[in-house]
């Protein structure tokens, strides 16, 4: 019987090929955290009869940046947007599936889907894949009946989390929680809401290596949609 405990095996850096793997040299194997493969930051906030949804713009493969204009916030209809953080390929596939389902709904019902209904649809789609999931965390934001703003987020198997103030997701989510918790005020007008969400997003992605490289902020009010591209640190 051995007396001294064996030292723990050295942690392998995620970006070197493991010995014995059949992956061609030059490609990194999957990291221990699938959500940190591409890096993302998405946040949504509620204001007075309006909402804001924002994301970063970096697409990376682990520590290498591939693109600085990647779209993470997608439009479902004029007053409903979804931001998808996590694995980028699953985000795009999931978005295409959701747009397909929404178009069928529009043909059958002759109207747009309400945000609450859409959130249930996304939750069901994700939970259906409970044992082989999409690695995406959606953030849904929309204006419902009487233009009451609605936001919610889910984990990657569809557990809905409704909030009245803000929701966050992505690799920068821990910083985003802190920033939004301090900077958020209820009933902000669209201009102030834009400033607040942009500051929360920029300060949080500054503290996250995997997200950043610019920000994309969308403010939606009952009469107009404002898209802004904001400047953050490009590192």
């Amino acid at each position: 019987m051995s007396v001294s405990p064996r030292p723990p095996p050295p942690r392998s850096p995620g970006f070197l090929p493991r010995p014995g793997s059949r992956i061609p040299y030059g490609f990194a194997p999957c990291p221990s955290q699938i959500f940190e493969y591409n890096g993302s930051a998405v946040v949504a906030m509620v204001g007075k009869n309006c909402f804001a949804i924002a994301s970063d713009r970096r697409l990376g493969v682990q520590l290498q940046t591939i693109a600085t204009d990647f779209q993470r916030v997608f439009k479902i209809h004029d007053k409903l947007y979804i931001g998808l953080s996590g694995l980028a390929t699953d985000a795009q596939t999931l978005y295409q599936r959701l747009v397909f389902r929404h178009k069928l709904y529009q043909l059958r019902e002759e109207r747009d889907m309400k945000p609450e209904t859409f959130a249930s649809l996304v939750s069901a789609l994700l939970y259906e894949k409970r044992f082989g999931p999409y690695f995406c965390q959606p953030v849904i934001a929309g204006l419902g009946d009487d233009d009451v703003p609605f936001i919610c987020t889910m984990d990657f198997i569809g557990a809905k989390e409704l909030a009245k103030d803000f929701v966050v997701s992505g690799t920068a989510s821990e910083s985003l929680y802190g920033a939004c918790e301090s900077m958020y005020k209820p009933n902000m007008e669209p201009d102030e809401l834009f400033e607040t969400i942009s500051q929360a997003l920029s300060s949080s992605v500054d503290r996250d290596c995997l997200s950043g490289w610019g920000g994309y902020v969308l403010i939606v009010t009952p009469t107009e949609v404002r898209e802004h591209v904001i400047k953050t640190r490009m590192d």
Partner: protein, 273 residues
């Protein structure tokens, strides 16, 4: 599989992505953590019915994801269910059984019984051998009287006069074991349940925020959402942050006015034949 249309599913789980995820796992992937409700949920039987209680914290690893989530789920007008474990699983399983109970009520024309809900839950959970990680406290009052049951993720159940589940269950059970007695009144029952949940909130790190209580008696159910708020947010300054307009550096802006829906005028002239 991938060539077919993405038709609305016929129900049940879809295992399409399992092969890809297994490949990722072989290459070193560790599955990320789900949203769990590391929780304190309790129930007890009092003289007129059942009282259920739950905390309101939802965690994602060590981070609090939701400070005020609802853990007492509706099953039937006379049956409610508290859920601990993976949040998606508890919500999905209680929604599913709630729909099945509704269909059963339409078919039989009678009020649902608690053991019906219990049997539906336990058979579903046993079928998935514990992989659907939902630990539930099910309580309700039907024509046969008040009932309280616990359901474990693998499908076993217990029928008890008082029950606790979740990470804070030991803290809550200590309160119950010292102060529970048969034939409590409604006020005593609510106070005992609130004390048990507070024990979980303050002593267990996975539970926190507020106390939700649900009182079910014959013919009447009262859902006391946020019955107690022992953790108010007092540290925030009333002024908050205020950012002046123009503080953020904007690279580009695009403003899209939304099309207003056309108003159809009523009472116009009829078209000529």
């Amino acid at each position: 599989m991938t060539g077919s249309m993405d038709l609305p599913a016929k129900g049940g789980f879809n295992f399409d992505l399992c092969r890809r995820n297994n490949m990722l796992e072989k290459n070193g992937l560790k599955l990320p953590g789900f949203l769990k409700t590391g929780t304190t949920i309790v129930g007890l039987v009092f003289q007129d019915g059942v009282v259920l209680g739950a905390d309101t914290r939802a965690t994602e690893g060590p981070i609090v994801a939701d400070k005020n989530c609802e853990k007492i789920h509706f099953m039937a007008p006379n049956i409610y269910c508290c859920g601990a474990g993976t949040a998606a699983d508890t919500e999905a399983v209680t929604d599913m059984v709630s729909s099945q109970l509704q269909l059963h009520r339409y078919a039989t024309g009678r009020e649902s019984r608690v053991i019906t809900a219990l049997t539906l839950l336990k058979s579903h959970l046993f079928r998935y051998q514990g992989h659907v990680s939902a630990a539930l406290v099910l309580g309700g009052v039907d024509c046969t009287g008040p009932h309280l049951h616990t359901v474990y993720p693998h499908g076993s159940t217990d029928t008890l006069p008082f029950a606790t589940m979740g990470s804070g269950s030991l803290a809550a059970m200590s309160v119950f074991e010292s102060r529970f007695k048969e034939g409590l009144t409604r006020e005593e029952g609510i106070e005992l349940v609130s004390d048990a949940i507070r024990a979980g909130i303050f002593n267990d790190l996975g539970s926190g925020s507020n106390v939700d209580v649900c009182v079910i008696t014959k013919g009447k159910t009262e859902y006391l959402r946020n019955h107690q708020l022992p953790n108010p947010r007092t540290y925030a300054s009333s002024k908050g942050f205020s950012f002046t307009k123009g503080q953020t550096e904007v690279l580009s802006t695009k403003i899209i006015p939304l099309k207003q829906k056309v108003e159809v005028a009523e009472g116009g002239d009829a078209m000529e034949e």
